[in-house]
């Protein structure tokens, strides 16, 4: 009896379900429900399908090279600060390929900074063993800094150059022209002197001014015609130099050149000699005559 009732109930339920899905709307809604089920399942699964590896904070402003050698295992790394921004000229490779440097240090890290981002604390805390900077930058922190001048570049001048002939500080010449400047108020030759000259002549508002974060881009803009006139250093660049400029309007002739400063603790050490060799190699290989004319002020004791 119980079995009969159960069979009847099951049959009744089956018929009722079949009746419900005999309506075309309900029948095709069932297909839609199946589709939505699979879609929902797929979306739910897809939402948890991806994980990200953590992105660690890295100092991308530093170029590094290292080597593992039993001779210098445990040696510290050489940290160089380029506050003149000669990085494009091959500074990094010169130190990384120096055998002397490899002997004395376990790695080389070079940071090139724009002058307006230079942190004086790096000088006070002697963060770097070797610093390339303009003398006026170092003289700011003269008391208390632990660096000694070991080599310098010659004095240079500041001029305005153009591919459309020698520039003139006149409204007639500058009208309609685009002047490129370095986007760094600390730069004497590429900002301070040109701006002062324009102001003195009352011409600051005449040319359209575009400011560049790097010398390289400013020079490139001159050659690709984006700007008509830029400030450039006055230097006797020979035919083999990468920097070839037409004669320009000289604004200043004597500006102290950049210099190399070494941590006092390393003076006259083997490291000092190794770094000196590396600087000489850099001078030999650099493609600008100005940077080939490196003058050693304080040689290492071994020489």
């Amino acid at each position: 009896m119980v079995c009969e009732i159960r069979d009847y109930e099951q049959r009744y339920t089956a018929i009722s379900l079949r009746r419900a899905f005999s309506q075309p709307v309900n029948y095709y809604l069932l297909f839609a429900a199946a589709f939505l089920f699979v879609l929902g399942l797929g979306v739910y699964v897809a939402m948890s399908a991806y994980r990200l590896q953590p992105l660690h904070a890295t100092d991308y402003g530093v170029q590094e090279c290292s080597w593992q050698d039993s001779a210098n295992a445990g040696a510290e790394s050489l940290r160089i600060l380029d506050a003149v921004y000669v990085e494009p000229l091959g500074l990094f490779s010169s130190f990384c390929e120096s055998s002397g440097v490899k002997w004395q240090f376990s790695a080389v890290a070079v940071r090139s900074v724009h002058r307006d981002r230079f942190d004086l604390r790096d000088l006070y805390e002697a963060t770097y063993q070797l610093v390339l900077a303009k003398p006026e930058l170092i003289s700011r922190g003269r008391k208390g800094i632990q660096y000694e001048l070991i080599a310098r570049y010659p004095d240079y001048g500041s001029q305005l150059v153009s591919l459309h002939g020698t520039p003139e500080l006149s409204a007639k010449w500058l009208n309609g022209k685009v002047l490129g400047l370095l986007d760094d108020a600390n730069s004497i030759s590429a900002y301070q002197i040109p701006i002062a000259a324009l102001r003195a002549a009352g011409l600051e508002e005449v040319p359209r001014i575009i400011r560049f974060r790097s010398y390289r881009q400013m020079y490139r803009a001159l050659y690709d015609g984006s700007v008509d006139v830029i400030p450039a250093l006055v230097s006797d660049e020979g035919p083999t130099s990468r920097l070839q400029l037409p004669p320009g309007l000289v604004l200043e002739e004597t500006i102290p050149g950049p210099a190399w400063y070494l941590q006092r603790a390393l003076l006259d050490s083997e490291a000092h000699c190794a770094l000196q060799d590396a600087l000489q190699e850099f001078s030999r290989n650099v493609q600008m005559d100005f940077f080939r004319r490196l003058i050693f002020v304080r040689s290492c004791a071994g020489e």
Binding site: Y12, I15, S16, R18, R19, F21, S22, Q23, P24, N26, Y27, Y28, L30, F31, A34, F35, F37, V38, L39, L41, G42, V43, V45, A46, M47, S48, A49, Y50, R51, L52, Q53, P54, L55, H56, A57, T58, Y60, G61, Q63, E87, P88, S112, V113, H114, D116, R117, D183, R208, I209, I210, R211, F212, R213, S214, R216, Q217, M218, A221
Partner: protein, 395 residues
């Protein structure tokens, strides 16, 4: 393949495409959403503000941007770890462009735009995200969808068509229970339920709502033999089905039998389409007499005038009846009084009653009499409605 399966396959194909697109696009968006915050934070740490100009008419240190960008791209290699069931896998994330500086040579499949505020200016960063479709997973999703559709098609019958629903509503209107009506209707296909005229008339004739016999009736009318009957045959079938105690084959034979009447005088039996129709003897003889007239000539028999019975015809009929042991009184009346119009009328009426009682008015009509006025304009003439070829008198 019937229409339901074709539709199911079409729905599956369309559904699979939509599913693949949604999973593909959805997972791309999900990945982009997951990448946005950590990537923006990393770029803020990676790209020092000193590389960027601070306002209009200022140009970035693009070389430094390119150098750092290259290092960032190295760090982004394998940054995405996909699980095996991800709809898209082998995902590569690369910086494409930062503030106008192009970093990647090859364009990516999709771009995630980010904003990096540097030196008070929002820099546009384009991050390329390229993944490949995880085909096994997409096919698996399609297969799951197909399996569900297949289960639906196999487990559930096709939905009721308009024909089914019309019949269902008719049954519900005749107090069938919903389940009973559904079960009856769903037993047949739409084609089966598209009844022709013959079938429809049979359903109308045989269905008795009180006894809820629609299931049996439909089973009967959907029989191939029954469905092929002409409307006229269908009427005979309905009659035969009742006469033959619901014997379908006998009813079919009855329906298909050629129209015709057979009068077996020695056996005193009237057979319509081969089936005996109970009749009284005297009306039978009169019917046979009309039948013989039909077979031998045009069949018209004119009633004699009421005041002048036809003695000749009376003697002939009496002799005819006596030959087959007709009712003695009837024979005597004819011999003595002749053939009267009233007698003819009465016997015709009796045979009509007997035929109608068995065949019904409609079907009996073909086996009764047709009338016309005699050419004298006074008397009526009558003859069998059946053509001579359909009449057979066995003597």
């Amino acid at each position: 393949m019937n229409r339901r399966w074709q539709l199911a396959i079409s729905l599956w194909l369309v559904g699979s495409i939509v599913l693949a697109c949604v999973l593909h696009v959805g997972s791309a968006r999900r990945l982009a959403a997951q990448l946005e915050a950590p990537l923006t934070e990393h770029l803020r740490e990676a790209f020092d503000e000193s590389f960027f100009s601070s306002d209009e008419n200022r140009v970035n240190d693009n070389r430094a941007l390119a150098r750092v960008g290259e290092q960032v791209n190295r760090a982004l290699q394998n940054v995405v770890r996909e699980r095996w069931y991800a709809p898209r896998n082998e995902c590569a994330v690369q910086l494409q462009q930062i503030d106008g500086v192009q970093l990647a040579a090859e364009p990516a499949a999709s771009l995630l735009p980010l904003t990096l505020p540097r030196n008070g200016v929002d820099r546009k960063v384009m991050v390329g995200v390229s993944c490949t479709a995880n085909l096994p997973i997409l096919f698996g999703a399609s297969a799951l969808l197909g399996a569900l559709f297949l289960a639906i098609c196999l487990r559930l019958p096709a939905p009721l068509s308009a024909t089914h629903r019309r019949l269902l509503n008719d049954l519900l209107g005749q107090d069938y229970s919903p389940d009973e009506a559904f079960e009856i209707v769903s037993t047949y296909s739409e084609v089966d339920l598209q009844l022709n005229e013959s079938q429809a008339s049979l359903v109308e004739g045989l269905h008795q709502p009180a006894s809820r016999n629609m299931a049996q009736v439909l089973q009967l009318v959907t029989d191939a033999g029954v469905a092929s009957l002409t409307p006229d045959q269908a009427r005979w079938f309905a009659l035969g089905y009742r006469l033959c105690a619901a014997d379908k084959d006998a009813a079919l034979a009855f329906a298909r039998h050629p129209d015709g009447v057979e009068i077996d005088l020695p056996g005193r039996e009237l057979r319509v389409r081969g089936r005996a129709v109970p009749t009284s003897a005297t009306p039978l003889f009169y019917y046979a007499w009309y039948a013989l007239r039909r077979v031998q000539g045009d069949g018209w028999v004119t009633n004699p005038p009421s005041n002048r019975p036809d003695r000749g015809a009376g003697a002939e009929l009496a002799q005819f009846m006596a030959r087959y042991d007709g009712h003695a009184k009837a024979v005597r009346d004819l011999e003595q009084s002749g053939l009267k119009a009233r007698t003819l009328d009465q016997n015709r009426s009796k045979i009509k009653d007997e035929l109608v009682a068995v065949l019904g008015e409609e079907l009996a009509a073909g086996y009764l009499f047709e009338a016309r006025k005699h050419e004298d304009g006074v008397q009526m003439s009558y003859r069998l409605a059946l053509p001579a070829s359909c009449v057979s008198v066995l003597s």
